[in-house]
């Protein structure tokens, strides 16, 4: 097993101490931060995502693996930031759970994955009103606003948030992506979202593709 495969495996099984230690070791050995991220951590999380989709993994498993990635990222992030050339600052994404919803699992997983993929994440937290999303969008000028909801009762606030962003001339062109257990592609299309991600791993490709446009 290669070092990167071993690192992936530690993420998959949620060995958070092991993943952090191995990341430090690989950095000391001169391995590039990007390869540690892509070949080790993200590959591991991709496997976790697949296991979650086929009901082999459940939320606690995913969170444990996410912790393994987050703890490794503590050491990796400073190295990744060194590699950003001037003028190529990180694309910024504002993320939050919508009004009335205090769930943060999905949001935190997406945040972990997108930070790992090199994006700057502004996490507004939970129970965020449409007005607060607009305020944050005006303040931080993100490329994307990401909305999370876990309840059928709160996902209606995704539309309210999108409408609020679209009604403001300064935020109307910011792309909005949505996700969460009750959310579907069909729902996302209906409420005018620019993208929908079924899980945290898919969010990386979604964001990459949206920002190319």
């Amino acid at each position: 097993m290669s070092d990167f495969e071993e690192l992936s495996e530690k993420v998959i099984i949620g060995d958070f101490k092991g993943s952090a230690e191995l990341t430090v070791k690989l950095l000391k050995e001169g391995k590039s931060a990007m390869s540690i991220l892509n070949e080790g951590l993200l590959k591991g999380m991709s496997v976790v995502g697949e296991k979650f989709k086929c009901d082999e993994y459940f939320i606690p498993d995913v969170l444990l693996s996410a912790k393994a990635m987050e703890d490794a990222m503590t050491f990796l992030k400073p190295e990744l930031l060194k590699q950003i050339k001037p003028g190529h600052e990180q694309d910024r994404i504002v993320i939050g759970t919508v009004l009335g919803d205090n769930h943060n699992i999905g949001k935190n997983l997406v945040k972990t994955m997108l930070e790992g993929a090199g994006y700057e994440i502004i996490d507004l937290g939970i129970n965020i009103s449409p007005e607060s999303f607009v305020k944050a969008a005006l303040n931080y000028q993100p490329r994307i606003v990401a909305l999370s909801a876990l309840l059928t009762t709160t996902m209606v606030n995704m539309k309210n948030t999108i409408d609020s962003l679209r009604n403001n001339p300064s935020t109307k062109n910011i792309k909005v992506i949505v996700g969460g257990v009750p959310v579907t592609q069909e729902y996302a299309d209906r409420i005018g979202a620019d993208g929908y991600s079924e899980d945290a791993v898919d969010a990386i490709d979604l964001v990459k593709n949206l920002l190319k446009k």
Binding site: D55, L63, L64, N102, N104, T152, V156
Partner: protein, 356 residues
């Protein structure tokens, strides 16, 4: 005041809950018609609904009168009660049901909390006084016999999730299982004390009990066995008798743990997992557990047409009514914006297709 209720439908529900076969499939919105739906339907203010018993009761009565089927009737506080007893700060706003800000955010805070734990007073902790006073007001208005005894409770896992946050609870059962067991044990001890107080105050004539524990469906089978069953079973075993209705609710995925529900003591499963076909549950546990569900509250009830609602209800009735033990309702509470016509369509479907 006298409230006309659909006694025939209620009788059918009682028969079905005991795994019997009534003359027709009943419809039940006893869990479904909560603030989330009522707020949009009646343009309610959440701040008044959750604090003004007259306002709450009037809204509940309007639903029952309009649809001539049972609905939520009683102190309906959502998440505002059990987590509040453990110090979670509860927020109530105009447009949303109550939600809890976790009290505990790190594992060190949890350790400290448990080391210094003092059991809350089941009479006075958090929003329990408000809950009791709402019940007494409603009993004064409706009479003791008309008002169901509110013996239902938020389950140990959901209570824990609102005290430490859901993501922490789900992570800590893996990283710090001993601490989570300690927390769940203390929550369960307290919930049993609350039941004693409720018996004293409400004087129920049976030992039926509802445990509402949504987040349990997000656990693997192994975690469900370790962190859910012991605590919920202890609640049922401590309070219920052999003939009691032991009601359980989770609208999270339950397919993978459905076979464990009878072992946990459940004999009525209400408003559950709308993503899994009710036929699966009927085959798996339908001989031991009354199934009350599970039409999708959003995809079908809110976003569908009356024709779609009727078709789906017909399909579910045909899949689940055999040998009784089945009640038609939604897989989760009715959501804000559900058209009245769709609720009518569900009731009509039971009438048209539900005869045995």
């Amino acid at each position: 005041m006298k409230l006309e209720i659909n006694e025939k439908n209620n009788e059918r529900i009682r028969i079905a809950e005991m795994l019997g076969q009534p003359d027709k499939v009943p419809v039940d919105f006893g869990l479904g018609s909560q603030f989330n739906f009522l707020s949009g339907w009646l343009n309610l203010d959440g701040r008044k609904y959750f604090c003004d018993p007259e306002y709450m009761l009037d809204a509940q009565i309007k639903f029952i009168k309009r649809f001539n089927v049972n609905g939520v009737l009683g102190p309906n506080m959502g998440l505002a009660v059990e987590p509040s007893a453990f110090g979670a700060r509860i927020f109530i706003s105009k447009d949303q049901g109550p939600w809890a800000e976790p009290k505990i955010n790190t594992i060190d805070e949890l350790k400290n909390y448990l080391d210094n734990y003092k059991e809350p007073d089941p009479y006075t902790a958090g929003n329990y006084p408000l809950f009791y006073s709402i019940y007494f007001y409603m009993r004064e208005r409706l009479g003791d016999e008309m008002l169901p005894k509110p013996m239902g409770m938020l389950g140990p896992i959901d209570t824990a999730c609102n005290v430490v946050s859901t993501s922490n609870a789900m992570l800590w059962i893996r990283t710090n299982p001993d601490l989570m067991h300690k927390l769940l044990g203390k929550i369960t001890d307290f919930l049993l004390k609350v039941l004693e107080v409720k018996v004293e105050l409400f004087k129920p004539t049976d030992n039926d009990l509802g445990v509402f524990d949504d987040n349990t469906g997000f656990f693997s089978e192994a975690d469900f066995k370790e962190f859910v069953i012991p605590y919920v079973k202890r609640i049922y075993d401590s309070y219920c008798s052999k003939d009691s209705r032991k009601v359980f609710h989770s609208d999270a995925p339950l397919k993978h743990v459905a076979h464990l529900l009878p072992e946990m003591g459940v004999n009525v499963l209400i408003s559950f997992d709308p993503k899994t076909d009710i036929a699966f549950f009927k085959e798996k546990i339908g001989d031991r557990v009354c199934l009350k569900g599970n039409v999708h509250p959003l995809k079908i009830m809110r976003n569908g047409t009356p024709v779609m609602v009727k078709e789906e209800c017909k399909r579910q009735i045909e899949a689940a009514k055999k040998n009784g033990g089945y009640v038609l309702t939604t897989g989760g509470e009715l959501t804000n914006g559900t058209p009245s016509e769709n609720i009518d369509a569900m009731i009509e479907a039971a009438e048209e297709y539900g005869a045995y």
